[in-house]
């Protein structure tokens, strides 16, 4: 198969759809994974205190 314009378009139109969906699913799983909840809760509260100087 030659790598001409049509071939790239065909690849992008077919496989592009799948890898975009796969990435989106990956992000959703990461964000909603139950054991990540504590990490995220800590992270979102972390900006509100103890930021007066760098930690040593």
């Amino acid at each position: 198969m030659t790598l001409d314009h049509d071939a790239i378009v065909a690849f992008a139109k077919s496989w592009g759809l799948f890898y975009l969906i796969a990435m989106a699913v990956g992000v959703m799983v990461y964000a909603l994974w139950p054991s990540n909840r504590t990490r995220f809760d800590r992270a979102k509260n972390s900006i509100l205190d103890k930021d007066d100087k760098p930690w040593s």
Binding site: M23, A24, V27, A31, K44, S46, D49, D51, W55
Partner: protein, 552 residues
Amino acid sequence: MVSSLTMTERRLALVILLVLSLVGLTMGVVGRSDLLGVQGFIVLVFSIGMAFIVMSDFYAPTPNPKRLERYYDDPTKAGIVLAMIWAVIGMFVGVWVAALLAWPDLTFDAAWASFGRLRPVHTSGVIFGFGGNALIATSFHVLQRTSRARLPDQLSPWFVLIGYNLFCLVAASGYLIGVTQSKEYAEPEWYADIWLVIVWVVYFLIYIRTLARRKEPHIYVANWYYMAFILVVAVLHIVNNLAVPVSFGHAKSYSLFSGVQDAMTQWWYGHNAVAFFLTAGFLGMMYYYLPKRAGRPIFSYRLSIISFWGITFMYMWAGSHHLHYTALPQWVQTLGMTFSLVLLVPSWASAGNALATLNGAWHKVRDDATLRFMMVAAVFYGLATFEGSFMAIRAVNSLSHYTDWTVGHVHAGALGWVAMISFGSIYALVPWMWKRETMYSPKLVEVHFWLALAGTIVYVFAMWNSGIIQGLMWRTYNESGTLAYSFIDSVSAMHPYYIARAFGGLLYLFGATAGLYNVLMTIRTARTALAESESEPDIPLVASARAAQPGE
């Protein structure tokens, strides 16, 4: 400022400035018969001037090692002031070009004051001068606080800030003397573009090096937005500006792309510049300063992650909606339209996330104009992203594109979202940086807020009206099937709206000027107060930001 650098850093600063002045001299000599020579002269004068500043404090005592136990905020402070100065310059020129459309004689017969030369000074002045400096200043602040780590060294942040402002200066002066590569939002020529790449890579390295030193295990979401901003802008800038100069002695260059490929590249750049310069970076601001000022964590951290990746995936594909009804293949146009519509989801997720954060803090929004700036910014972000998705629909686009509706839309985003979130963040940041309890005049912040809001509303409504009238006039046919209105009919129908727009812009400019005055006066009063007590905890007197909330 120089006295906080180590001896090695001072020497290195002088070496860099020497090299830069030699570059300026070379540009001046080889480009002597061209506008490039004028630009070289500007680079030369700028770097010699900076060298004098470095030399004036060169033999100052070496800084106290204890400073390493604190954050490094000098570049942030300078960046805030530069941002406010650029805001006033850029908005002044904006009012001028708006007035030029209503009263075309305001060029005073000077070539440099023609619309075509002043307009890019306005665009670059507010986007890159004001927005860029605000982003650099706040990103250094947010990066250190959320990483609990000091910047890796003291010279590279200055290199980024001052180098970036040199780029802005070369760009703006170039427009006035007639240098432009005529690409949407990317008008500086090849030599300025190359310089920006160098500055930008150093900027990205600062981010990576500080994150590598971080003490906090989790990288807070604001940093994701800032990093996406830095990384993607570098990619866009390099690809969009691939060009071959006529010769190394000429300012003029030719793009590597041609025809519809050039149009596609420009809009891929243009739309992603909106995405990653004017949105992702400022979302980084919003995700830090809004919760911080409200004293409440962001409503949903998970939603912020999902919106981040949503925006990053979607925006890349949306640019081709600017090329409906052109020679671009139809499927690419449809792709751009579809992704623009889907883009509404992550955009509204961020806007909603910000507003939901304020639930339970609405009394603060009522009392605190700084927080209100950020709240209104989130509302305008939601409005402008809805409008953008709507305008990307092919049928709507046939009415709106190339009319003032588009101008109104981008200014709803620029005035309502980008500038308001920046002003809000700056008003939050200035008292922290200069160890004050509040701004010099909280009343003046209030005045600025209402001027900004009134200015935005007048501007946007004027442009909606003029844009839709313009679009309708252009597509009205008479019984014999020819155009009912000549182009000049539509131009004269715009006259009252152009006056309204200039007035709205003028209000906005007054607000920004009040902001600059307020920031400078806060700094002045801080100097005298700081001299009395040299002890400096990082953020004094602001513990109130973390007062217990009702229902917490």
